[in-house]
């Protein structure tokens, strides 16, 4: 089976590094993008299986990226999980209705991310 791929979209290099370590441990091949525009260019080339998406970023924010992604051919295939410090219920609802598969509030850990990825069917997991 081809390795599963995950695109981490976050303007913080440190967050990308932390998230990369977690998803690599879950067996994903990881690429990174520093904002929504960079991520969109990436997805036009090759669709990842999973996108971990920050909300507030320069150039193009997470929500704008998500809406553009879902309009691309095959743009509905990636599982998109917001990973952001935004924790208000109405903002979470907004992200879900824009097409996010799930939503992770920062801070999070490997257990939380694993359970979210299992919930959207991106990993097989007994937990």
């Amino acid at each position: 089976m081809d390795p599963r791929t995950c695109l981490i979209v976050d303007d913080s290099r440190i967050i990308r590094k932390v998230a990369r370590r977690i998803v690599e441990d879950l067996g994903f091949e990881v690429d990174e993008a520093a904002d929504g525009a960079e991520a969109l260019t990436y997805c036009m080339g090759v669709m990842p299986h999973v996108v971990l998406l920050d909300w507030q970023m320069p150039v193009m924010d997470g929500l704008a990226f998500l809406r553009r992604l879902r309009d691309l051919p095959n743009g509905r295939t990636p599982k998109v999980l917001f990973c952001t410090i935004e924790t208000r219920a109405d903002r979470i609802a907004e992200a879900l209705s824009a097409g996010a598969d799930d939503y992770v509030m920062k801070p999070f850990d490997g257990e939380i991310l694993l359970s979210k990825l299992a919930e959207v069917g991106a990993v097989q997991s007994p937990s």
Binding site: R88, I92, A93, L96, Y103, E111, I112, S115
Partner: protein
């Protein structure tokens, strides 16, 4: 904490709670007892324990026990179990039971995530489920009853959609909505005690409890679970827990991890 203190803690946990406090938890025990000592007004853990050994006070003893129990849990832990329950067991039981009422027991419920996961499944299926959840730890039951979880706890196992549907945001926390809280009855109970009533259940969830019990107490708990389960009922254990060495009352269901039904021998005995 001295090795003698730890020996006495092991005895305390074993006799009162049937809990096996393994030696590798010594450091953890010291760490967990610090806040208890401060709350109870002792200078440090040693002072609290020496007072407890010389003049055993029940309330202090229980505060120490409760701090040392393994309370780890999360929503939809071992998710396959919840899928089997909501896709197969609950529809079958709803159809088979008079009035469609299904009785569930979360035994060793800790802070309530398992019971609320069951309640969400029942409410979303519009099933009529009566859910009792018990735990030895009073603080755990109080937290479960409050239905209040940190954003760390609420995310572990719950999708954001389910979280928004069944919990409301209260500052930095998430609280089970009244409809959800009303679907579960939480009670403090010790699995080692004789049951205070003779309620029977269609499905019992006693997961990640047996492995923490003193081996000598497992048979007694399994026998009690067998008595509380209707003859055609189901028992869920943790995925790595096996009753075989301790009890012949249950047999595993092939292809359904963690699921047990009464063994023929247990049914004959009841007949």
């Amino acid at each position: 904490m001295t090795p003698e203190d730890f020996d006495r803690l092991q005895t305390l946990l074993a006799t009162r709670a049937g809990f096996r406090l393994t030696r590798d938890r010594m450091h953890l025990a010291e760490h967990r007892l610090g806040p208890v000592a401060r709350r109870e007004g002792y200078h440090n853990v040693e002072a609290m324990l020496s007072s407890l050994w010389s003049k055993p006070v029940a309330s202090l003893g229980w505060a120490v026990i409760e701090a040392l129990l393994n309370s780890e849990t999360w929503f939809r832990r071992d998710r396959a179990v919840f899928d089997v329950f909501s896709r197969e067991l609950m529809p079958a039981l709803t159809a088979a039971r008079p009035g469609g009422k299904v009785r569930l027991w979360s035994a060793g419920a800790s802070t309530g995530q398992e019971a609320y996961s069951l309640a969400i499944a029942a409410l979303e299926a519009r099933a009529d489920a009566e859910i009792i959840a018990t735990d030895l730890s009073r603080p755990a039951i109080e937290k479960a009853t409050s239905g209040l979880y940190t954003s760390f706890e609420i995310q572990r196992g719950l999708s954001a959609r389910t979280m928004l549907r069944w919990f409301e945001q209260v500052d930095e926390h998430w609280r089970a909505r009244p409809e959800l809280r009303g679907a579960v009855t939480f009670e403090r109970a010790n699995l080692l005690d004789e049951p205070a009533d003779d309620r029977k259940f269609d499905v019992i969830f006693c997961r990640h409890v047996l492995n923490d019990l003193e081996p000598a107490r497992r048979a007694r708990v399994l026998d009690m679970l067998e008595r509380r389960l209707v003859d055609d009922g189901c028992l869920f254990l943790g995925l790595d827990e096996r009753p075989e060495g301790d009890s012949i009352a249950f047999r595993p269901v092939a292809g359904r991890k963690g699921l047990y039904v009464k063994a023929p021998s247990a049914l004959r005995r009841a007949a």
